[in-house]
């Protein structure tokens, strides 16, 4: 059976977008910081495998690359928190200030990474600015007599497992429930003895790590450059916003919607309405706008930081999940 390539691409993108967008929703929901440096975590994750395989000159095992990418993303994320977000939150800054600070961190980390790649490229004499990791995975694998693309299979299982683990973590473990408690009602959670600092650390760790995995997944699909994070950031935000910036299942729905509009809808529009293919980026935003205009997401958890939280009173619906 010939699976149309549009559908395959859609599946790739659903996995990749959900791995990138869900940690963004998570980090916003718990820390109320709209983190613009999120795109950089994605780039770093994509480049971990690339730099590792270039440094050691070997084909990298994917089971080594995945934890490595997670670790790199998580550590940079935690570092950013320790140096930028936590001090500002301790000074009780405005959410908008935090957003701009995250932009400053974004510029800093991105260009530091550019400088690093530049230096490494000169030393190793290989092209690193637009490349793909050397991963030890066979091209095709036969399951039940059907030829499947191994990389696609790997990425689908990676996302499924990661998201399942995340869900389990958030709903069944004590630490996960502590995270959700901090998100829903900070004062009550702190009174019950939950340490805010610890929760924040875990959040940034998980969020950075998952975003890095998303980057790694994308690097298996296509070539990446240090601009990757910036090129994807708006679509990733679109997915999160469809999820109301607080609901993880809805973010996944957002990933499905954005991914379909980019791969399937554009094809329909091109074939039947003659709309140029170069309108593809237009479509993601169009999809986003349609969704939030038709069914505005409930401002659970306060919505975007530009809206101030009415002191004490919460006129938000119960957050989903």
């Amino acid at each position: 059976m010939e699976i149309p390539v549009e559908l395959l691409n859609t599946i790739w993108y659903i996995c990749v977008y959900s791995l990138m967008a869900i940690p963004l929703t998570l980090s916003y929901r718990i820390s109320k910081v709209l983190n613009f440096a999120h795109g950089v975590y994605v780039t770093l994750g994509a480049y971990t495998a690339i730099l590792m395989s270039a440094a050691f000159g070997v084909k990298l095992s994917p089971f080594l690359a995945v934890p490595a990418a997670f670790l790199v993303g998580a550590s940079i994320s935690v570092l950013t928190d320790m140096m930028v977000f936590s001090p500002l939150i301790r000074r009780e800054s405005n959410p908008v200030t935090l957003m701009i600070a995250s932009m400053g961190a974004w510029i800093f980390i991105k260009n530091a990474f550019y400088a690093l790649v530049d230096i490494l490229q000169k030393r190793w004499m290989t092209s690193l600015f637009y490349t793909s990791p050397n991963i030890d995975l066979p091209a095709q694998v036969a399951i039940a007599g059907v030829e499947l693309n191994t990389r696609l299979l790997f990425v689908v299982s990676l996302s499924a497992i990661s998201l399942f683990l995340l869900g389990y973590f958030l709903t069944k473990t004590r630490l996960g429930m502590a995270l959700r408690a901090i998100a829903d009602n900070l004062d009550l959670a702190q009174i019950s003895g939950i340490s805010r600092e610890r929760v924040m650390l875990i959040t940034w760790l998980v969020s950075g790590g998952l975003a890095a995995l998303g980057g790694f997944a994308l690097s298996l699909f296509t070539y990446v450059s240090p601009e990757l994070g910036d090129q994807m950031i708006l679509q990733v935000f679109a997915c999160s916003v469809i999820g109301g910036l607080t609901s993880i299942p809805l973010t996944f729905v957002g990933a499905v919607i954005i991914s379909s509009s980019e791969n399937i809808l554009i094809v329909f529009l091109y074939r039947y309405l003659g709309i140029e293919l170069s309108f593809r980026p237009f479509l993601s935003f169009f999809a986003l706008l349609s969704v939030i205009l038709i069914r505005p997401p409930a401002g659970a958890g306060g919505g975007l930081p530009y809206r101030f939280h009415l002191r004490g009173l919460s006129i938000q619906k119960k957050s989903d999940s």
Binding site: F36, M83, V84, P87, L88, R91, S93, N94, V96, T97, M99, I100, A101, M103, G104, A105, W106, I107, F108, I109, K110, N111, A112, Y114, A115, D118, I119, L234, F237, A238, V241, E276, S278, F279, P281, F282, F285, F286, L288, L289, I292, L293, P296, P297, G299, G302, G303, L304, Y306, R307, F308, L310
Partner: protein
């Protein structure tokens, strides 16, 4: 050595244009709490309107019928742009007015759907709208499509000496900046300004007090977008060319940094923020002259420095550099104590404060 006059005229002109944008954004975000993340789209609309009108008028006035984005048009404009001073200035003023009206109207219309999503998602809505507009402009042939427009005739095209031209344009930009600043100061230091702040602090309470909140927001978005359009026209005339790729979301983020660094809810703060970010950009590019031959390319260090400075300023002054002051309407002056009146006194206190800050002490 650096040519001081031309350095100042180029830096200050771009500073002026961005300062106008920062003032508009500050009015929307700082005073009214409306997160306008699509600022660049109104900026871009203004630029394209200015380019379109000036090129079309010039070409048709002199009897050419080339499409405005074609090579023949550019060559023709090159010949005629300096010939008629009245036409240049007239077209300039007309472009400003039309840009204001068009950008303002678009801003006003954009406020409608945002009412439906509520203030929470205002930001992302306008941002998406901005991006959609940019991609649309890339396909819209009458304004050049992805070619953009070239050879836009400036208001001082008839001046032969280029440094004089630059200084004149700078004076014009600063004059417009001053007007906008005074206008916003008057607007904010009045009962209307108080109303804007009340919307920021507590929208529901404002509504309960009977203030027509959606209407005010739409009005403000009209004015803010219109003035951003004027800034866009200035950029189009200054640079002489426009293209859709000039108006990406990165511009919006830059202006947001200016507003937040300078201090929200504060017109002076917007100017300070614009000055800092512009100056930072210029001074860091000087690094390339003094740090050649490093292992690390100095260009990357430059951008790293910009990001670091933003974070550091915010770490030490999270409210921005210039703190917000109470609304100073005419009635307020009746309640001011003698201490607070008087410019000289204020200057005196300011100087004393500066000295004691330098000395490391706090001044009471």
């Amino acid at each position: 050595m650096v040519d001081v006059v031309s350095f100042l005229s180029s830096w200050l002109t771009l500073f002026g244009i961005y300062a106008i944008l920062a003032l508009c954004l500050d009015m929307e975000v700082g005073y009214t709490g409306m997160a306008n993340t699509g600022l660049v789209s109104f900026f871009g609309i203004g630029s394209f309107v200015a380019g379109y009108i000036s090129l079309t008028v010039f070409l048709s006035f002199f009897g050419y019928s080339y499409p405005i984005y074609s090579l023949d048009a550019v060559i023709a404009i090159g010949k005629i742009s300096g010939s008629n001073p009245f036409l240049s200035i007239g077209v300039f003023l007309m472009s400003l007015v039309v840009a204001f009206v068009v950008s303002g109207t678009v801003g006003y219309l954009v406020s409608y759907p945002t009412l439906r999503v509520g203030p929470a998602f205002l930001g992302i809505t306008i941002l998406s709208f901005g991006e959609m507009l940019r991609i649309f402009m890339k396909h819209f042939t009458p304004t050049g499509g992805s070619y953009g427009l070239l050879g836009i005739p400036g208001p001082f095209g008839w001046v032969s000496e280029p440094s004089v031209k630059a200084v004149l344009f700078l004076a014009l930009t600063l004059a417009i900046l001053a007007t906008v600043y005074l206008y916003f100061q008057t607007l904010s230091n009045s009962p209307y300004g108080r109303m804007l702040r009340s919307i920021r602090e507590d929208e529901v309470a404002s509504l309960c007090m009977g203030k027509p909140v959606p209407r005010i927001k739409a009005q403000l978005l009209f004015v803010g977008s219109g003035i951003s359009g004027i800034a866009g026209s200035l950029l189009a005339f200054y640079q002489g060319s426009v293209s859709p790729d000039m108006f990406t979301t990165a511009v919006t983020f830059e202006v947001w940094s200016m507003v937040i660094l300078g201090g929200r809810g504060n017109n002076r703060g917007a100017l300070v923020g614009a000055a800092i970010i512009s100056l930072l950009g210029w001074s860091s590019s000087a690094l390339n002259f003094y740090l050649p031959g490093l292992v690390v390319d100095p260009n990357y260090i430059r951008w790293m420095l910009m990001g670091a400075v933003i974070v550091i300023i915010l770490l030490y002054q999270p409210k921005g550099l210039v703190p917000e002051k109470p609304v100073q309407t005419k009635a307020w002056s009746l309640f001011e104590t003698k201490e607070e009146k008087g410019i000289l006194r204020k200057a005196e206190t300011a100087v004393k404060r500066a000295f004691s800050w330098l000395a490391g002490r706090s001044y009471k």
